[in-house]
Symmetry: C2
Subunit: 466 residues, 2 copies
Amino acid sequence: MADLDFFFKPRSIAIIGASETPGRIGYQVLSSIKEGGYEGDVFPISIKNKGPILGFEVYKSILDVPSPIDLAIFALSAQHAPEILKQCGKKNVKGVIIISGGFKELGAEGRKLEGQMVEVAQKHNIRIIGPNCMGVLSPKAKLDTFFQPRYAMTRPKAGIVGVATQSGTFGISMLECFSHNEVGMSKFVSYGNMSDVDELDMLEFFEEDPETKIIAIYVEGLTDGRRFMELARRVSVKKPIVMLKGGRTATGSKAAASHTGSLAGNDTVFSAAMKQSGVVLVDDIDELLDTVKILAKQPLPLGGAVAMVTNGVGPCVVAADEIADSKNLSLAELSEETFSHLQSCLPPFCIFSNPVDITGSAKASWFGCGLEALNGDNSVDIIMPFFVFQDAPLAETIDEFHEIMKKVNESQKTMLCVAFGGEYTRKQVNKLQENGIPVIPTSKRAVLALSNVVWYAEYVRNRKSQ
Amino acid sequence: MADLDFFFKPRSIAIIGASETPGRIGYQVLSSIKEGGYEGDVFPISIKNKGPILGFEVYKSILDVPSPIDLAIFALSAQHAPEILKQCGKKNVKGVIIISGGFKELGAEGRKLEGQMVEVAQKHNIRIIGPNCMGVLSPKAKLDTFFQPRYAMTRPKAGIVGVATQSGTFGISMLECFSHNEVGMSKFVSYGNMSDVDELDMLEFFEEDPETKIIAIYVEGLTDGRRFMELARRVSVKKPIVMLKGGRTATGSKAAASHTGSLAGNDTVFSAAMKQSGVVLVDDIDELLDTVKILAKQPLPLGGAVAMVTNGVGPCVVAADEIADSKNLSLAELSEETFSHLQSCLPPFCIFSNPVDITGSAKASWFGCGLEALNGDNSVDIIMPFFVFQDAPLAETIDEFHEIMKKVNESQKTMLCVAFGGEYTRKQVNKLQENGIPVIPTSKRAVLALSNVVWYAEYVRNRKSQ
């Protein structure tokens, strides 16, 4: 396992190219470190600014700092990188994050500059994250190196998902959607051009990291496809790996090349290889979030039989279509006992089939009855309630509803809810998700993510039975 | 054209089964009518409640009301429907909305009851919306008949989209997502079991309705497929029809049958027929909203050549993949003049290709430059900027950004933006959408909706050149 701890819990940090101008990278990074509540020593380095900046004393060079430095963050123009790396070497810095762009992604000259920088780093045994990246978030160590201001981007809580991303923008998307869906992160790394630390390092790191239980990754190109496959195959039986791949097609690959300088490979071969290695491949950020969310909040399903209960069937009809199109899901055949149970506690104008339609007149207690009945049915692997929070009878019994849902979620079946709406619905969704119950807005997204999770659960069962 | 005006601008309304208990349908409907600001006469009808309810005098029977009634809304138990319809006949009521369920969707007996009710209505020349439905929203007449309280469901503004839906729940989804995306509605009808007014009536009505420019429709089954095709073919060259179809598959169709009692047909045949008729078929509520949003806010594209500009390329790479997979989109080949233009106003570390990567350092003015250059390029049909609002340089110049976007949107090219994020991003998205610029959160959704719109534009061009 690569020792990368100094990136995630450094005892001290230098910001090279610190600025006193809000909006500039060298200011924003410092501001994030301060506002994040980082407790180690912080040393802004600047030739121009005398400081103090944000209360921190400023040094002209890293070599002037009187105490040791674990991590340096580079926010100057690219051409200064090799010289600064030399100074970092002298100072025995362990890791450097190069936020700045202007390297490989610009073509031949930039590639040369990046090579020079890496050479210096290797000579001094320094690890590099970047260049052309956002750096790290390490919630437990209260460390974030982002140049995105807190008013514009929310940071997620500490949690069990480890994130590695080549694209900073997808990194931002993950930070925001994880935050707004009550999914916590263990560690987050945006490594841009991957001049040194890459997806292989991060996969090895996450494999051993006790805080990380699920791995989410965005890649454009892989450093070493064969090695990644071997590693993924080893890791995936222990921790699910959910991967979004940019540059699947020639068109996308060309766009990727002019971005982080990566070359992507053949789509079909790649997909097959990833599946063999147990990697859950997704197509977009929504699918990534939805899949990770179920994995993070719920037990793995024992099969693909889905039971639905709802106070508004329309979206269940569309979900039934999507289930029919999926390869590994089906509508559960409910038992006679389940129907008797349902009939004993629901009014006769409800519709006793799968989906169980408790109608727009449904109050919270009707959901309680429906969910309890489905929970007791052995033919059901996954319970998928669809809520219409807008309907008056449910809205008027909403507190009772949340009490019921907490109890229902104690069962060992996988539960995934679907609900779509505005502010009011959002409030109910937040409450459910805080209580560990995943909610997805639409039928299509729910079924797609569910299908991914069922595929992964089956992969693990097959591997373990071998 | 069916005369259905009495449903959308009635001079007076009776609510049969009015209640003084919040949460009950007969109370909620009355409450929506009052809170919506309806200006005609309102007559609650109740045997149990003496009233007044919400300030309106209560009558024991519709026959006791001293003045004429255009529209009656029925919120009693199903079995009372035929008798009440008789009374409505005596009173010369023109239209009745049956909110209550308990009819065809319950099987043979309910089907019989529904038949009896329709028979009475036909005898007295009364039109019916429902049963098992939400009724109507008619923003210009300030009329809404929904039993969903305003605190739980937002109502959209008046606008150009006419909505007809068999499922009330999808109706709710459309009301909420249109509201939150600054898409206005002309008229909205949820007709549930379609005992009388159906998609054919609504299509004819929307065809002639001067307020309606776009038609959005959710169906499970069609009353008369052949007639619908003929009608759709006539309407679709004038007004786009975007359709979500539940029950495409045998599994979904079975779920639909136990819901609104509709039987759906063969998927492949249905899709082909709809395409021939110029109907844009979508798979889920997101796709419906996204497609309608572009149609409502932007001119139709002249072709499928897309140009992207961004301060964060990752999602553009995924979009390029999706464009490559689509049948009718491509990345525009930018002209030499465009590249010169871009190079003249952007720093050299930007990447001058398609996507134009103006990097995380981009301020508002850089987007101004990029968008102006793309606007001037004849090879570009669609401009698709991807915004990372979280990046400090853009966030710190956000007011200038919105000024620039307003100007850029005056061009005749189709523009569709992509942006993903939390509260801060949401604010910027709202502002853009208020100014008529559609924004979609993810690459996959954006490309899918764009492909639908390009397909429709081409369909219309082909039909018009015949």
